[in-house]
Symmetry: C2
Subunit: 325 residues, 2 copies
């Protein structure tokens, strides 16, 4: 046993838990903290929002590209973004963790630190979890939120004439991944950081709900793919503005990396996943809450669920399918 | 592609979801069902109980010993038992599922059927989930429950003089696993079924809470190991009766398998895990709710957290440690 860099198999379960727990906030709304058969969390308005996402090594992340901290923050943030996309405030997480015995303990501590760093500023408690050995790293997060008396904003409420709006980055994560894949991370460390550790605007979810958003979702699989989901659920078509205009600041930010890698920046803007921006629709007379910007309009359903500049998007630009990969 | 027995890699994600969803109950307390970024579930008394457990192939189950239905029922039941052990009524599950592309679709459908079969009679909704490919089967379940206005029954409330009581089977799952390991499943299919698909007394949890239980937990890792957890949390010692007397019916039921395999039945009774019985303590004047039976008394803390017949249990009988295995 190398005392300098122990691996998970060197520790008893309780010893590993003792290394993890100090990094995890309990949360001010947790009535019974971890350590019992289950935690108890307050749900002041008599409802809770719940969602889960699984990250699997070499499917969703690579250890040579992402530290434990990165994966911890990302696992938290992508789940909290789903909570925010209902218009809810994130409150609590539970985490199921599968680790090979050969995993460095430092990596697992990093994961816990990343989870804690993501959750603590938001007063989100990590209220439970389970550890298992297994042949591959798996981080299964279930996140909970509080609607604070508001109606949930679903995917299905978009109305013809609504404004389509987006909050958050577009294409940064895809560009960062492309740089890593091409071994050109040094070209733009900011984009690589956006891939490793996305920073969604979680407060934009409740703000959109308060402002009267008619539909909303978290853009995890790309604007086209997730846009189609919203359009299908609502029985409408989304007519998006030309992406280099709608996301002018993102297009400018991505131009250099796109040029170097020979990628059309429109591709990243339309199909890049994992930025966890929010796509929402608002009645036309509603002032858009910060940081939403208008990116299109809702029209009556046509043969295409999403149009770009009034035309069907080019074939092949369908966004990510984690499962099919 | 063998049309007769397709595997997961043959299907698009949505096609696999379309095979899974029909088996899963939504639950009458689910306000927003699966299909959005998150579900919304009612929490009538302004709190919810939440717990998670992960099952990993070849750590927690083997496909040659357990069908998809078995694993689905077991994944549900062991989580619902944790909810019940707080004194809560189970309400909702979410499921993160990792499957190798080579997994037969029929196995995954079986898993969904098993989850549904466990949940439907209890009006527990399967309110969300996530699918991913990966090199090993992982079933990560997060379960939620409703305390219905009661205080949560924690591990830490046992008082000197309390009665120690247990509800449910003891040792059946361990005996079934031992039969499978010895390739003698035909000797007692009932015990093997108890391993493959435990049937905890979930209603006993709320009943214990109503009756005034001072402490409670789900016995997943064996009576000694989980008894020590309760004793440690409560700052007491549990003095258990001789197991062949305390669990006379179980001892009789296990005798034949134990004799054939050359196992001391006391070992299964004290250290067998995965039956998901409930271990609870009650004030001495309280009539024990069905199906709890008295199995010992709570004494002032001694150097041993658990005594058996007034003496320290034999060395080595510590129960399961999934993680250390």
């Amino acid at each position: 046993m190398p005392a300098e860099s122990p691996v998970v198999a060197d520790l008893a379960e309780q010893d590993l838990l003792d290394r993890i727990f100090p990094h995890l906030p309990v949360g001010s709304r947790t009535l019974v903290p971890p350590g019992d058969d289950a935690a108890v969390v307050v749900a002041p308005d008599g409802r809770y929002v719940v969602t889960c996402d699984v990250l699997v090594e070499d499917v969703h992340f690579r250890r040579r590209w992402s530290s434990g901290e990165d994966v911890g923050r990302r696992a938290a943030m992508q789940n909290l973004a789903d909570v925010a996309a209902m218009g809810a405030r994130p409150v609590a997480l539970v985490v199921g963790l599968v680790t090979p015995g050969s995993t460095p303990v430092a990596w697992v501590e990093g994961l816990a630190r990343g989870l804690g760093d993501a959750c603590r500023p938001l007063d989100v408690g990590v209220v439970g979890g389970d550890l298992s050995s297994g042949p591959v790293l798996v981080v299964a997060v279930t996140a909970h939120g509080d609607l604070e008396g508001r109606a949930a904003v679903r995917r299905s409420g978009a109305q013809v004439g609504d404004v389509v709006a987006h909050a958050g980055r577009r294409g940064w994560s895809a560009a960062g991944l492309a740089l890593l894949t091409a071994s050109r991370a040094e070209l733009d460390p900011g984009l690589v950081a956006a891939y490793r550790s996305p920073e969604p605007h979680l407060a934009a979810g409740p703000a959109a709900a308060l402002a009267g958003a008619t539909a909303m979702l978290d853009v995890s699989d790309g604007l086209l793919r997730d846009g189609r989901r919203l359009a299908r659920a609502s029985g409408v078509t989304l007519d998006l503005d030309e992406p280099t205009r709608a996301f002018a600041a993102d297009a400018e930010r991505l131009a250099s990396a796109a040029g170097t890698l020979g990628v059309d920046v429109t591709e990243w803007l339309l199909t890049g996943g994992e930025d966890h921006g929010l796509l929402a629709t608002f009645p036309p007379d509603v002032p858009l809450p910060d940081p939403f910007g208008a990116i299109g309009t809702v029209t009556a359903r046509t043969s295409d669920l999403v149009l770009v500049g009034g035309r069907p998007p080019r074939g092949g630009t369908t966004g990510w399918d984690h499962f099919g990969s």
